[in-house]
């Protein structure tokens, strides 16, 4: 095996050009999702076996129409390709174009070609090309362009082997720029080439065009470039317009003779017919809401069985470990902190996987862009963008991927508002809390013969979250000032059957990312929580047994009851218990006592901790048995009133608190990274907590 590093190959192309299909064919499950250095844009890389002995690292870059970026997503393409010192700068670029939509797709190719990186052109969707009567002479085209041209049907995997072969061989590569940048601004380009020791005209030209957004430059270098732009009268927009027109002229020249267009027979009947239904005045919205309803139903209905199974497995594992391992602090940390902590993460996999399967299908089929199309005008009234619909829907599973999905929104203000309000959507972590509390305060009765009251309450909480998000967005629209224009120039792709392999890989990858990214934080927090709940100041915890024994010696207690009393006493005197008592005056107006206070504090890190904390607080050994917790909570008496602790007032107050409060460290962390600062996550934390507090206070007073 050779010692030298394996070649890096970047995949670039327009959105909907079949890039992810090709990526999946090349790498299969050898994929890794991470973040590009410094930004939260998904970085998909994978290892491809070019043949038995040669491997290559494939980097999937975000889909873009041009090297001039409009969104955070697209910026990455130039950051990596335009800078030879970037650690991800590829050895070869594979440009994948939708051959059935030739000209527009070739624009990006001509730009990348001029950056002078060895380039391979993949003509995808040749199956559609064949059907439409369009004909492409790829040999002639290859000769014209001076790069290998490979016809492909990525959906069926046809042409992938030819591509691998081409990548293995040294490419016969004659470079002559397609757009002669130098002729438009010779002096400015020469100065840049000298200053930064760059060889290619177009790279230098791009430095002049885009230095303000170039991450690899220091402020000083940016200032130097700005001076050059001014000194040489380098009029960026005019040149860029000229460049685009020049490139299209060159494209027309290249394809003259090798491509015969015949648009009259494009098989778009299906797309036209389906659009008539999906964007219909009434059916359009009806179908959209029906699909949403189906997604919710599936998340809740299908996920239940695997979630119960995971829950059972982890509690069995904890029991088995505590029976097998010698007793001690480490075993307790393992069985009470780490194993339940991991279980708390893993249990969300089914819901996340189902949700992402649906989102992948909606995107694969082309329906998602119709949703954006349908909702844009409504969303705009609230300071959002049609594209905000996607994060808001995803927010129902988890705010973290949802916030990452906002990066396709080009307008900064609209993107910020979307990031700000997405955590108000009821995520899956709120579901266990909703379920338990609703069961405590809402009778399990049917309103008519089909509407279940508890179901209505659950639906109401989701609606409440949605309304809060929309209204907050509208308020932010009034507060935030921005001169930046809002765009919605978006391709409406033709409808396609989803590729199930892609859906499966998306499900797998997103679940994996969730477990490892969000998991790390939840895992750390559950250990910290365990420590806080297990230790207290002084010797109060150590003396717990003595104290409880002394107090209860006259009572006839079973061993289990005694054990529970001791655990309960320990918790009360642990650091967590002391915190709970400290904040009691603050939460008393909401109808909570110190025990709920502990749950509030612990679940500030992540909401799903609530149920586990409740279980510990009410001194039940097994945190996994919801019915037991529920029964215990039901029997809990409020000493002030003599009635149940979880009355309608306290219960609804808690429900509303959990619907609104920003109780998720991971979300705060992701907002910090997406907005590059603490300002927005802190405002978000304060705003949501205040909203939760005030609303819970109102709810408590209405119902008590």
């Amino acid at each position: 095996m050779s010692k030298r590093t394996i070649p890096k190959i970047a995949l670039v192309g327009n959105p909907n050009s079949g890039k992810s299909s090709l990526f999946n064919h090349l790498t299969g499950l050898n994929q890794k999702i991470g973040n590009f250095p410094g930004v939260t844009v998904d970085k998909k890389t994978g290892i491809c076996n070019l043949d038995a002995t040669h491997k290559a690292e494939i980097i999937d870059l975000p889909g873009t129409y041009s090297i001039y970026p409009n969104s955070t997503d697209e910026k990455i393409v130039f950051d990596i390709l335009g800078n030879k010192n970037n650690p991800l700068h590829p050895d070869i670029v594979v440009v994948i174009v939708d051959a059935s939509n030739f000209k527009r797709n070739l624009l990006l190719f001509t730009q990348l070609y001029d950056l002078h990186i060895p380039t391979v052109l993949v003509l995808n969707m040749m199956d559609i090309v064949e059907k439409t009567g369009l004909s492409i002479d790829e040999k002639k085209l290859s000769k014209e362009l001076g790069v290998p041209v490979i016809p492909m049907k990525a959906r069926k995997g046809k042409g992938v082997d030819v591509l691998k072969n081409t990548l293995l061989n040294d490419m016969d590569y004659h470079f002559s720029p397609i757009f002669d940048a130098r002729s438009h601004a010779p002096e400015a380009i020469d100065s840049v080439k000298e200053m930064f020791s760059i060889e290619e005209d177009y790279v230098a030209y791009q430095m002049l065009q885009q230095h303000r957004i170039n991450q690899s430059l220091t402020q000083n270098e940016k200032n130097l470039l700005t001076d050059l732009v001014e000194k040489h009268n380098f009029s960026r927009d005019d040149l860029r317009r000229k460049e685009t027109l020049d490139r299209y002229a060159a494209i027309n020249h290249f394809i003259d003779g090798s491509v015969k267009e015949n648009f009259t027979t494009l098989p778009k009947h299906w797309t036209q017919r389906l659009d008539r239904i999906f964007t219909h005045k009434i059916f359009g919205y009806a179908i959209f809401f029906l699909i949403l309803f189906l997604i919710f139903q599936s998340i809740f209905a299908w996920a239940e069985v695997p979630m119960d199974l995971i829950d059972l497995t982890f509690s069995e594992l904890a029991t088995w470990l505590s029976n097998t391992l010698p007793p001690g602090v480490l075993t307790r940390l393992l069985t009470e902190g780490i194993v339940p902590g991991i279980g708390g993460i893993v249990i969300f996999i089914p819901q996340i996987a189902i949700l992402f399967a649906f989102i992948a299908i909606l995107e694969e089929t082309g329906y998602m862009s119709r949703v954006v199309f349908l909702m844009d005008k409504i969303m705009r009234k609230f300071g959002l963008n049609g594209k905000s619909v996607v994060p808001l829907i995803s927010g129902v599973a988890c705010a973290i991927p949802a916030i990452m999905a906002t990066r396709t929104i080009e307008n900064w203000k609209e993107r910020l508002i979307t990031i700000f309000v997405t955590p108000l959507m009821s995520c899956s972590a709120r579901l266990p809390i909703y379920t338990i509390l609703i069961a405590l305060i809402v009778p399990d009765r049917s309103l008519f013969w089909f509407i279940n009251l508890q179901g209505v309450a659950l639906m109401g909480l989701y609606l409440l979250g949605f309304l809060a998000a929309i209204i907050s967005a509208w308020v932010m629209k009034l507060i935030l000032r921005s001169k930046e224009r809002s765009f919605l120039v978006m391709e409406l792709p033709t409808y396609k059957m989803p590729r199930w392999k892609n859906v499966g890989i998306t499900m797998f990858e997103k679940s994996k990312t969730f477990v490892f990214e969000a998991g790390k934080i939840i895992f750390a927090i559950s250990i910290v929580l365990w420590v806080l709940a297990s230790y207290g100041p002084g010797d109060r915890i150590d003396k717990a047994e003595e104290v409880v024994m002394a107090e209860t010696q006259n009572q006839q207690l079973t061993e289990r009851q005694l054990h529970n009393k001791i655990e309960s006493y320990k918790l009360e005197n642990s650091y967590a218990g002391i915190f709970g008592k400290t904040i009691e005056p603050v939460i008393k107006p909401l109808g909570y006592d110190w025990k709920i206070g502990i749950a509030l504090i612990t679940s500030f890190a992540a909401r799903e901790v609530f149920v586990g904390t409740m279980a510990t607080i009410y001194s039940i050994g097994e945190t996994d048995d919801e019915l037991t917790i529920k029964n215990r909570m039901k029997r809990e008496i409020n000493p002030d009133t003599g009635g149940p602790r979880y009355s309608l007032a306290t219960g609804s107050s808690l429900l509303i608190f959990y619907a609104f409060a920003m109780q998720c460290m991971s979300t705060l962390a992701i907002v910090y990274r997406e907005t590059k600062g603490w300002k927005w996550p802190l405002i978000q934390l304060l705003y949501m907590t205040a909203l939760a507090y005030v609303s819970a206070f109102i709810a408590y007073n209405i119902f008590s």
Binding site: Y65, S100, R241, L245, D275, T279, V489
Partner: protein
């Protein structure tokens, strides 16, 4: 001078792109294949009348009305 824009078309009608009335938007529209001299067809509008769907250089594009009005046609 009486310039017509894409929004003056009726659904199903086509025009030839003449130029752009907004400099910033024209950069993006050019890159998306809206080239002077190319035919552009108004397909349909979203249920609330905005955005609209047009066909240009062989594919469908959605635009808001205030974006479409900047594309002048012959």
């Amino acid at each position: 001078m009486n310039t017509r824009s894409v929004v003056d078309l009726t659904p199903g009608e086509s025009g030839i792109i003449n130029g752009f009335m907004d400099d910033t938007l024209s950069l993006k529209l050019l890159e998306m294949g809206c080239l002077p001299g190319q035919p552009i067809k108004y397909n349909f509008a979203a249920p609330l009348g905005d955005p609209i769907c047009v066909s240009v250089s062989g594919y469908n594009l959605s635009l808001r009305l205030d974006e479409a009005i900047t594309i002048s046609i012959q």
